[in-house]
């Protein structure tokens, strides 16, 4: 049995895909691409797919991960291309490696998020981020199934600073300011989500974006505690595959991943 790890995206309007929606779409893509999937035993066999740490509905992502089990070996890059063309544009499979190490999920200890705040002055955002970082703790509330919960959003945050302002997408008005925040946050329980950090910014500095923030996960991986950087979680599998060098498109896709 071969196990393959994939990195995929939720881009553009398809960021509104829920995790359940993605699961259905992915399992259909497996069928369309005629991937020789291993099935679970039991009365209703399911293809063996393990998902890790899905981004919330409505947030974009450049770095979602999953692992599939195959009954016959396949070249990871060929499989990646095949699956990518079998999924709608926006749900893109951008990286594939054969699993040669254990514990992908254990290597996903932190995420890098980009928060695009349309209509917010970058200076104001910078001020708010500084106030948030300076605080010892930032209490926020979130509505959960069991009611309103209060917790600290500060401790899990490794860093929060203003990022480079790219030109805005073509379908958006350009005549108003736009602030970009880059957030590195540890995966802790209970999870601190970008939304919680936004609530924190409102709490410490009254930052209230006029339109909902566009949130995108840029990277997920092992947090380097010294540098505060998030490393590529598929790198150990790639290294274990040496001396064979990684195939060119996979390397290109990995290089694109901001860490």
């Amino acid at each position: 049995m071969q196990r393959i790890r994939l990195r995929y995206t939720k881009r553009g309007r398809l960021r509104f895909t829920s995790h359940r929606d993605f699961q259905r779409a992915f399992e259909r893509a497996l069928r369309r691409a005629e991937v020789p999937m291993a099935y679970s035993a039991g009365f209703t066999p399911h293809p063996k797919v393990s998902y890790a740490n899905a981004a919330p509905t409505g947030t974009g992502s450049e770095a979602e991960y999953l692992e599939i089990a195959l009954t016959e070996a396949r070249d990871p890059e060929t499989l990646r291309r095949l699956l990518d063309t079998s999924l709608p544009a926006g749900l893109d499979i951008v990286d594939a490696v054969e699993a040669r190490t254990s514990g992908l999920a254990d290597r996903l200890t932190a995420s890098v998020w980009e928060l695009r705040l349309d209509g917010v002055d970058p200076a104001e955002a910078e001020h708010a981020a500084a106030a948030f970082t300076a605080a010892g703790g930032v209490e926020v509330q979130r509505r959960t199934k069991s009611g309103l919960r209060t917790f600290d959003a500060r401790a899990a945050v490794v860093s929060l600073r203003t990022g480079p302002t790219d030109p805005p997408p073509a379908d958006r008005p350009t005549d108003r300011p736009c602030a970009i925040l880059r957030l590195v946050v540890r995966h802790v329980t209970p999870a601190v989500r970008p939304d919680d950090v936004l609530s924190g910014l409102r709490a410490v500095a009254d930052l209230a974006p006029p339109v909902p923030a566009a949130v995108t996960r840029l990277a997920q991986g092992l947090l380097d505690e010294e540098t505060g950087a998030v490393t590529d979680p598929l790198a150990p599998d790639r290294e274990a595959a040496a001396p064979e060098p990684p195939s060119a498109p996979a390397a290109a896709a990995a290089a694109k991943a901001p860490a």
């Binding site: 509104f16 779409a25 396949r74 544009a89 926006g90 893109d92 909902p212």
Partner: protein, 654 residues
């Protein structure tokens, strides 16, 4: 695939940026973003005829609709023509769209519906009428056809409910009866020519050109005159060149129309998640309550090889894990056994399940059932005897004997099934309490036999009941509808009888809600133009999603109807529980389903005499009128061909 390609295809007229800001605040935003697998986005500027197609219900119900999916593909295959889809938005998004001035949009490119040339709506049921008004209003299109201008789309109604579009005559520009595949292309050609000529004569001229084809009904070109007692005196064309009667459309060779070739695969969860193939169209079993069976005649089968090809291509294009073999009575296909076996053989390794949504007791056999469940789950079987007594089954011409049923379910229980669902109707013409109470006896016999052959007490039978609603173009179009109170009372007696059975009652499930929605459906399905005022009043009062229990309000419908109909000296009973006479001009008499009105009347009389009629597929023609009127004929097999295994299955190219 890069997302940029999809994003850059959005033209300047896309309302997505405005919509996007609202989506984080609504339930299931994925249903509004489009981007489904196999969806099509064509450049706006490259097309001269543009259709917005709507199924006027929630996305989860509308997306799997075969009619819309077929027309979407047929139109988009044409050079210079584009079709995009739009669905009803839930009240949470509707409120936000009104607050932020976001118009009704298509999910494909998020273009405003008002920018299209044609706005086609498919009505499977009358309960979508208020949703049409919501969509028109959100789109910024005047609700009443007479207020629309040159740049408003032509609003076209289709689907089974369009066989009596009179209740929505004020709101639509035209209606198309019957199969849409060829009709939409004919309409497209008329619109294209009119636009190329610089839109001469404006909207009126375009509608006149459409009406003159004889296949498009333009309600505005007909005047309805009434008698003092409220009945219709006559319906007359008010323009020259407009036909007295408008005919339905019939596609004769289904193999020439293998649509959908690339079914849409939604990201959101929908009511049917399967690869559906229509294995035949039409039904001549002659059940007298069944509008679908009457208006879709004659029977036209898709060939076994045509079906095999569609399934093969469709599964490759979608990745679905279930195949639905659709029709009005799927086990009646002349080669159903070969089809089921061939498909089950072919997809055994791929774990593809087969389903047959409509199966008659007398056409069912256990070999077929085994093939259907070979690759999937053996969950439950559903049969529809429709009537509880032999007598009432003769009235409705559902020629299924109780012994047939018992024999069939015995085989099923004997072969490992544990659950059988039986579907019945209540409120059928001439029905008495006794006819309905016999449903309990039938269910009891089913359980008795089931326990006997399975040797187990662990079997169930669910009795599911729907209220009968008389429909236009059926022999029961003259029949009185049973009032909601009488229906509820009759079913209470049945419930008590089942519950009171100590020995078998606990194995029998009973499903029935109440008779109220049926009265509203009855009002709308046999209504005339005066019902438009009721629909409008309900919409203005906030009526939406009438097919959904949690949104439907009987009291709202009744109070609006009482007020609106008072003007005409009529009431809801006049439209629902009143029996019509032979002489009465019915609101849909000028719409030609091919059925001879004389024959329908004779069949109605036969029903009252409990006389049955055979199926003309196997016995001589009984002159319902459709084939000569429409120049059509029954098209059935067997072809004698077989489904061969595919040469390549389950092989990836990695």
């Amino acid at each position: 695939m890069p997302a940029d390609a999809a994003e850059s295809a959005l033209s300047v007229s896309s309302v997505f940026p405005q919509l996007e800001a609202l989506l984080p605040h609504v339930q299931k935003p994925i249903q509004y973003v489009g981007g489904e697998l196999n969806s099509t986005v064509k450049p706006w500027e490259d097309c001269d005829v543009r259709w917005a197609l709507m199924y006027p219900d929630a996305y989860e119900v509308g997306l799997p609709n075969q009619g819309v999916m077929i027309l979407y593909e047929v139109l988009n295959e044409q050079r210079g023509v584009l079709a995009e889809r739009t669905y009803s938005v839930w009240p949470d998004l509707e409120a936000l769209m009104r607050e932020h001035d976001v118009p009704q949009f298509t999910v494909d490119s998020h273009r405003p519906v008002r920018a299209f040339d044609l706005f086609g709506l498919s009505f499977s049921t009358e309960l979508g009428y208020t949703n049409m008004l919501t969509a028109l209003d959100l789109a910024g299109i005047p609700l009443e056809a007479r207020d629309r201008g040159l740049d408003d789309p032509v609003v076209v109604a289709g689907g089974h409910a369009a066989f009596n579009p009179e209740p929505i005559a004020d709101f639509i520009d035209c209606a198309v009866l019957g199969d849409g595949e060829q009709a939409v292309l004919e309409i497209t050609a008329v619109v294209r020519a009119w636009k190329a000529e610089g839109r001469p004569g404006g909207r009126e001229e375009l509608l006149l050109r459409l009406a003159r084809t004889g296949g498009v009904y333009v309600p505005g070109f007909y005047d309805v005159e009434y008698l003092p007692d409220g009945r219709i005196a006559r319906v007359v064309p008010n323009r020259s060149g407009v036909p007295w009667r408008v005919s339905k459309h019939t596609v004769m060779d289904l193999d020439e129309w293998p649509y959908p070739k690339q079914p849409l695969v939604p990201l959101a969860e929908t009511v049917h998640e399967r690869m559906s193939v229509e294995i035949f169209r039409g039904c001549t079993r002659g059940c007298r309550f069944c509008q679908a069976g009457m208006i879709t005649r004659p029977v036209r089968e898709r060939s076994i090889t045509g079906i095999g090809e569609m399934v093969d291509k469709g599964l490759k294009a979608t990745g679905f894990e279930e195949v639905g073999l659709l029709s009005l009575s799927s086990a009646d296909h002349s080669e159903i056994g070969e089809i089921a076996k061939g498909l089950a053989d072919r997809y055994e390794d791929d774990k593809i399940g087969l389903s047959l949504p409509s199966t008659r007791v007398d056409a069912f056999n256990i070999d077929l059932a085994d093939e259907l469940t070979r690759n999937g789950r053996r969950s439950g079987l559903t049969f529809a005897p429709e009537g509880g007594s032999e007598r009432i089954r003769k009235v409705i011409n559902k020629m299924v004997s109780e012994d047939d049923l018992i024999r069939t379910v015995a085989t099923a229980y004997g072969n490992g099934w544990r659950q059988v669902k039986l579907y019945f109707m209540c409120g059928l013409p001439t029905e008495t309490d006794d006819d309905v109470l016999q449903i309990a006896d039938m269910a009891t016999r089913v359980i008795q036999k089931g326990r006997e052959v399975s040797g187990s007490g662990d079997i169930r039978c669910t009795v599911s009941i729907g209220g009968f609603v008389p429909k236009p173009h059926t022999p029961f179009q003259w029949a009185p509808q049973l009032s909601a109170e009488q229906t509820d009372a009759r079913l209470q007696k049945l419930r008590d009888k089942i519950r009171g059975d100590k020995k078998y009652g606990r194995s029998i499930g009973f499903r029935y809600h109440d008779g109220k929605p049926g009265i509203v459906e009855g009002l709308l399905s046999r209504g005339d133009r005066r019902i438009g005022a009721v629909i409008r009043a309900v919409y203005d009062d906030g009526g939406r999603f009438d097919g959904w229990r949690e949104h439907f309000s009987y009291d709202r419908w009744m109070s609006c109807a009482d007020k609106a109909l008072e003007t005409f000296g009529l009431d809801v009973d006049w439209y629902t529980t009143r029996e019509r006479g032979y002489e009465e001009v019915l609101p849909w008499d000028h719409l030609d389903s091919g059925l001879d009105k004389e024959w329908l009347w004779e069949d109605w009389q036969d029903a009252l005499d409990e006389t049955e009629v055979e199926d003309c597929r196997w016995t001589p023609c009984f002159d319902c009128g459709v084939c000569p009127a429409m120049d059509t004929a029954i098209q059935i097999g067997p072809t004698g061909r077989k489904l061969l295994p595919l040469t390549v299955t389950g092989q990836g190219d990695g």
